[in-house]
């Protein structure tokens, strides 16, 4: 998939412009403060950024490190409630820190473009994609309307969008998330900016889609020799994109180096710890005592059938990972097990006894034994309840604990999840993402369950926090003998914690077996695709992968 094949021969505007190397953006000693809780807090504490034309800089760090704030500052923009207190932002000789709002408005969207994390939220649902793609180009009179539209179609084509000629006529809700993210890239590149800021553009996508989007983004950025700042918390992704990587933590720079150097020889211990996350491994354990047996379940939402003859067995005390891309029926399977979605056919046998299919028919005892942990810890906790109330409720409801006994047990549970009693009277909004997920784990543990269904519990978290959560879950399993059914699309997580793996695709079980069997060849086609889509810590991984894959990405 070289650029010469993709470039339509009759449009000279798509040819690269050679001007690589000279200094494009220089940010000196940037300090940014944010206002919250009646005070100004330092978000960025004196960071320098230097970016040359045609260069891609990866900004990496955990959430709260100030990556996005710094990325926006590169445009001379501070979010509402934030202010840039000092430092210079020189973009192509122009000081954006001092520039007036009207000057900046001309630059934004034309010379500096921004690609946001959630494409779905960034598009105006009431306008067609084409109109939005060419809007700033036409408004700033960089190209004529007709020329811009023609160019946009070519961009769509180079970005591997299906039906490039007509896709622009659609509205944002008529295309998928991955496609929308690519349209947004087309929108960014349409006025041929000097700099594009990518703010976690692939974080919300699943692995197989992520690969396509990454490939097309990288391709187009290289072709037009655009400089880019690529913000992410996923190291493997940034390794594919960036020439240089800068690691941020607590608003300060930890280290910066060329990608190869950074991957092979990180200097700081913090950077090393980021790199070591994926080293987590669990020895495979084979269990024969079946705790949960899902027997040929068919389930549907209304008329559309989503599960076809799904059978999964979960041995007691082990972890069964259910993997597949979004829409493969993983979460629906969990809903069937919990009783939220009664199946049309099939049985669920728990601990040797058939479970009533409907939630309302199950006894308190049966409910107690199966607990669930959700992907978004934010929405899984009532924002108006304190940690003590959240963890205390199952204790009161199932075990009848009250008063001091309950309080003591809450304290015990908090210690089990490596937090302490100072958290008891906090509200969910006062916790970080990882802490929230831990509280959810404690709530599940409070019920003293036998099976915990974990639905993508770590996918919303940063790598380093993910590792902490996974370690905790594994640790709890050895101590309490809990069984996990672990739903995820992240193969790295699966490698880390599972005993058995179930691969699902389009509502069917493709494979079930021990981790050692599934993750070794020979693979069925889909498993192969899924496995190869997980970014690896190798700057050439994406290039090699694209070479290997004979299939067109858009057909996946």
């Amino acid at each position: 998939m070289s650029s010469s094949e993709l470039t339509p021969p009759d449009h000279s505007s798509l040819q690269p412009v050679g001007r690589t190397g000279s200094l494009l953006l220089e940010m000196r000693n940037i300090r940014i403060e944010g206002f919250s809780d009646e005070r100004w807090h330092k978000i960025i504490k004196g960071v320098n950024v230097i970016l040359n034309r045609g260069e891609i800089l990866g900004l990496i760090g955990e959430s709260g490190a100030g990556k996005s704030t710094l990325g926006l500052a590169a445009m001379g923009f501070a979010r509402p409630g934030c202010r840039i207190t000092s430092g210079e932002i020189i973009f192509d000789g122009l000081d954006l820190g001092k520039a007036t709002q009207s000057v900046k408005k001309h630059i934004w969207g034309t010379r500096i473009a921004y690609v946001a994390q959630s494409a779905a939220a960034a598009f105006n649902p009431a306008h067609r994609l084409m109109d939005q793609t060419v809007e700033s180009t036409v408004r700033e009179k960089i190209k004529g309307e007709a020329e811009a539209r023609l160019d946009a179609v070519n961009l769509y084509r180079s970005l591997q969008l299906p039906q490039a000629d007509t896709i622009g006529e659609r509205y944002p809700h008529q295309v998928s998330g991955g496609q929308l993210q690519r349209v947004m890239t087309a929108m960014a590149i349409s006025p041929r900016p000097d700099l594009i800021i990518f703010d976690e553009p692939t974080t919300a996508l699943d692995v197989t889609t992520q690969v396509e989007v990454l490939a097309s983004m990288r391709e187009i950025v290289e072709r037009f020799d655009t400089a880019a700042i690529y913000i992410t918390h996923d190291l493997a992704v940034v390794a594919q994109m960036a020439d240089r990587i800068k690691v941020l933590r607590y608003g300060e720079e930890v280290e910066e180096a060329e990608t190869e150097e950074m991957l092979n020889a990180p200097k700081q211990s913090y950077t090393k710890s980021l790199w070591s996350v994926r080293a987590l491994q669990k020895p495979v354990q084979k269990g024969d005592d079946i705790l949960l047996d899902i027997k040929s379940v068919n389930a549907a939402y209304g008329k559309s059938r989503v599960l076809h003859d799904v059978s999964i067995t979960v041995p007691r005390g082990s972890t069964v990972a259910v993997v597949g891309e979004s829409g493969s029926g993983k979460s629906t399977t969990a809903r069937v097990v919990t009783g939220l979605l009664p199946p049309e056919e099939g049985k669920i046998i728990f601990d040797g006894v058939g479970l009533p299919t409907k939630l309302s028919d199950r006894s308190k005892d049966q409910l107690q034994k199966i607990q669930m942990i959700y992907q978004m810890a934010d929405t899984a906790m009532n924002p108006r309840q304190t940690v003590e109330e959240i963890i205390g409720r199952p204790l009161e409801f199932y075990l009848g604990l009250r008063g001091h006994v309950k309080e003591a047990r809450v304290r015990e549970l908090l210690e089990m999840i490596e937090l302490d009693e100072s958290f008891m009277d906090r509200l969910p909004a006062e916790l970080s993402g990882g802490q929230k997920q831990r509280i959810c784990i404690a709530r599940a543990l409070a019920a003293e369950p036998e099976l915990i269904i974990c639905d993508e519990v770590t996918s919303a978290l940063d790598q380093i926090v993910q590792e902490g959560i996974l370690r905790l879950l594994m640790d709890l399993q050895t101590r309490l003998g809990i069984t996990y059914m672990f739903i995820t699309h992240d193969i790295a997580t699966v490698r880390a914690i599972s005993d058995e793996i179930v691969v699902m695709y389009q509502g069917k079980v493709v494979e079930q077996g021990l981790k050692s069997e599934i993750l070794n060849p020979p693979y069925p086609d889909y498993t192969q695709l899924l496995l190869s889509s997980v970014p690896e810590m190798d700057p050439n991984w994406l290039t090699d992968l694209l070479k290997e894959r004979s299939i067109e990405p858009s057909e996946i």
Partner: protein, 312 residues
């Protein structure tokens, strides 16, 4: 950001769950938090709050504040403004000022009772409809549509002439008619909360409908409901005033601002002879207007507060 040292089993010093950077905030007491909010309140909100408090004081202490009794009749009807009768007397010789003061008690009291009742009816039904999205939602929703399709003032007039203009029927009828709006609002905000994972968590735990409604949903839809309560209170109050003006509201001799406007309306024709006397019917009208504006100022500010918009 420094939350003590690591208790983690993790041997690396780099990471500890308790020390993880999050929005670590200072925990404040209820009073402190509210004081911060109050300090930032705009002038209009302060104006609204002060005016509203005055009304409450007047309503509560009416018997002590009023110079004369509510239904005390004097010899001179339509007496001019003088020292004994500050705002003169009405068509049968009752002191206007006293009636204005007692009116605060009657009109506001009834309006408050009605609003509370309508919120109870509309709120409970709205929550039930939001949770049970199948038949009940449809049945309740369409029933409310039917009620809303009939102009409420005319409907109220009709029902009042059927059931008679007693205070009880007045409260009940307006409450039921007004609960349709509350139902709609409650349902629409609750629908957004019902789909949250924490409600599912509660249902998976086996919690009953009452618990889910009271503990999981209600606290999260309070801000719009409180704001609506303020607005509804105004509307109820205006409806009562309008009904009284039309003669079907609060019945004499109970003092009420709406009927006072009607009874003294003729005085406005005397403007050429006695400008003060002609202002008399405007006094109860002004009290109604002032209270409405005050409540709206408070509600506006409250809505702005809870919407979470950050001012630059």
């Amino acid at each position: 950001m420094s939350m003590g040292t690591s208790k983690s089993t993790d041997t690396e010093v780099i990471y500890s769950a308790a020390g993880e950077v999050g929005a670590v905030r200072k925990r404040r007491t209820f009073v402190e938090r509210n004081w911060i909010i109050l300090k930032k309140a705009p002038l209009t909100a302060w104006f609204g709050m002060i005016v509203f408090c005055c009304y409450i004081v007047v309503a509560v202490f009416a018997p002590w504040l009023a110079p004369f009794g509510e239904a005390e009749v004097f010899n001179v009807p339509f007496a001019p403004w003088d020292e004994t009768h500050v705002f003169g007397t009405d068509q049968i010789g009752r002191d206007i000022l006293s009636r204005l003061i007692y009116g605060a008690r009657n009109t506001m009291g009834i309006a408050l009772l009605t609003t509370i009742l309508s919120f109870f009816i509309g709120g409970v039904l709205g929550l039930v409809a939001a949770i049970d999205r199948r038949y009940l939602d449809q049945v309740l929703g369409r029933a409310m549509d039917v009620l809303m399709a009939i102009p409420s003032l005319i409907f109220a007039l009709m029902l009042l002439s059927i059931f008679g203009s007693t205070v009880t029927s007045l409260i009940l009828i307006i409450a039921v008619l007004d609960s349709t709006r509350v139902f709609r609002l409650t349902r629409s905000v609750a629908v957004g909360v019902v789909v949250m994972d924490y409600v599912e968590v509660a249902r998976l735990r086996g919690e009953g409908l009452g618990w889910v409604m009271r503990r999981e949903i209600l606290p999260n839809i309070m801000p719009p409901l409180i704001a609506e309560f303020g607005l509804r209170f105004c509307f109820v109050f205006l409806t009562i005033a309008a009904l009284s003006f039309l003669g079907l509201g609060i019945q004499p001799p109970t003092a009420d601002w709406g009927s006072m406007v009607r009874e003294n309306a003729n005085l406005i024709q005397f403007a050429a002879y006695d400008i003060k006397a002609s202002l008399t019917p405007l006094l109860p009208a002004t009290t109604i207007a002032l209270l409405t504006i005050a409540v709206n100022f408070i509600v506006d500010w409250f809505l702005h507060q809870t919407s979470g918009i950050k001012d630059e």
